[in-house]
């Protein structure tokens, strides 16, 4: 079972291409205000496809410990 992660986006390199949202299997709404995958909500799926597709590799993640996950 994968552990939830929180994504971080290096905004300096992000080109707002939207590929990360396009490949994301999350339901509607898992987006940031800047049209990227959400950066303030834990991702329970943690498939990392958004990181793989990013043309400039500007998405990274931190594994969220269970007690830090506000949705648990």
């Amino acid at each position: 079972m994968k552990k939830p992660v929180i994504f971080d986006i290096g905004w300096n390199a992000c080109i707002n291409c939207g590929a990360c949202i396009a490949v994301c299997p999350q339901p509607a709404g898992f987006v940031s205000d800047f049209d990227t995958i959400a950066v303030n909500t834990p991702c329970e799926i943690a498939c990392m496809k958004c990181e793989d597709i990013c043309p400039v590799s500007t998405i990274s993640h931190l594994v969220v410990a269970a007690q830090e996950n506000p949705h648990k």
């Binding site: 080109i15 590929a19 396009a22 490949v23 043309p55």
Partner: protein, 387 residues
């Protein structure tokens, strides 16, 4: 507030639906969350002339960067196929009187704005900075909630058109299976540059050395500018599109042409090289354009397919809205049937061709097949010219 249809997304597909349905006398609201349509640019902007004309869009200097007269497909191993329609059909294509370009590279910011202008002139109401955030059922109609300059507007409508791109939230709301596999979404990056010569052809570079799973391109961009880009499929490589593009520019068989390139813009996007969605409608919902994955699975081209899909949707709605039929899934299925008959079946065939190429395990054979397929696709005898 009430409209016959509400369109979410003012790209080529959404604005085509808006223009045609509004021109037929129905009330249309089209919303887009952006402040500048077509921006950020996520597309190379190539579209054929007949795609514009057959969908009622007159080629206009307002949005044309440069006319196009053909193609040149290269594989980096000495393989080249030039398909220059100025030479193949000199009476039809060219710059001389009575002849026309084969297509254009358009400025997506100006093109999308132009299409919305035409929709508004036909009677559609448009809201920018307006994000659709959900909908609820209201009898046979729906109420869509739209956040417009921070104010929530509730709009009653019969049909919501999801023209909100590959990342379609409308499709997800409706429970339509919109998810795309990583190996079918090309990660694309392109630079708009000065100092690279072009000659009216779209140059396509195949081969896993350049762009694993996809291809590279050099397109004329008008005023002496060009765009150099590529799309890769992430699982086929262990580095990102930026690294591949850097190698292509600095260390490829075309590098000598790029040595004086001066960078003007950086653009990118996710381009589906996938099948169309198996289901493009739900109760009160119709998807068009990238949202329905109306994208050519071989070339990744999406402007023609968006315009044409928008036309099919509009023609269906003009018949459906006054019919008295309810907006059930069953009654909206005809939209997809019409689309399959017009374009979709051909797109499915193209998808099968593409799938066979990339099922090939031997990379040398795979590269050879892609080069041949691209060459055949753009030839005057291609079965697939219409999409």
């Amino acid at each position: 507030m009430e409209f016959d249809i509400v369109i979410v997304g003012a790209g080529p597909a959404g604005s085509t639906v808006a223009r045609k349905v509004a021109a037929a006398g129905f009330s249309v609201l089209i919303v887009d969350k952006r402040q500048e349509l077509g921006s950020p640019i996520q597309c190379s902007g190539a579209v054929s002339r007949h795609a514009l004309l057959e969908n009622g869009v007159e080629p206009d200097t307002e949005f044309i960067h440069e006319p196009i007269y053909g193609f040149k497909i290269m594989n980096g191993l000495g393989g080249e196929k030039e398909i220059d329609y100025r030479k193949l059909k000199p009476n039809v294509y060219g710059t001389q009187e009575g002849a026309n370009p084969l297509g254009y590279v358009v400025d997506r910011r100006r093109f999308d704005r132009y299409l919305l202008t035409q929709a508004e002139r036909a009677g559609a109401k448009a809201w920018l900075k307006a994000e659709a955030i959900g909908y609820e059922q209201a009898g046979d109609d729906v109420i869509i909630s739209i956040k417009h300059y921070n104010k929530i507007e509730r709009v009653k409508t019969e049909i919501i058109i999801g023209a909100d791109g590959l990342r379609s939230q409308v499709g997800k709301w409706a429970g339509i299976k919109t998810h795309i596999k990583l190996k079918e979404l090309a990660s694309c990056l392109q630079f708009v540059v000065d100092g690279v010569e072009t000659n009216g052809l779209l140059e396509l570079i195949t081969g896993s050395q350049t762009a694993p799973g996809g291809y590279g391109w050099v397109f004329p961009k008008g005023n002496g500018y060009a765009e150099i880009g590529l799309g890769i499929i992430a699982p086929y490589t262990n580095v990102n599109a930026q690294v591949h593009l850097d190698r292509f520019i600095k260390n490829s068989f075309l590098s000598h042409r790029f040595k004086n390139a001066r960078l003007l813009e950086v653009q990118g996007g996710g381009v589906p090289l996938a099948s169309p969605l198996k289901k493009q409608f739900a109760r009160n919902i119709i998807l068009v354009g990238d949202a329905a994955r109306h994208v050519n699975p071989i070339t990744g081209g999406g402007i023609h397919t968006a315009l044409s899909g928008g036309t099919v949707a509009a023609e269906f709605l003009i018949k459906h809205l006054p019919s008295g039929d309810d907006n059930s899934e069953k009654n909206l299925a005809e939209y997809q049937d019409n689309w399959l008959e017009a374009f979709g079946n051909q797109m499915w065939k193209l998808y099968d061709v593409k799938k066979k190429i990339f099922k090939e395990k031997d990379i040398t054979i795979q590269d050879k097949k892609l080069f041949e397929t691209m060459g055949n696709y753009f030839s005057p005898n291609s079965d697939y010219k219409k999409i």
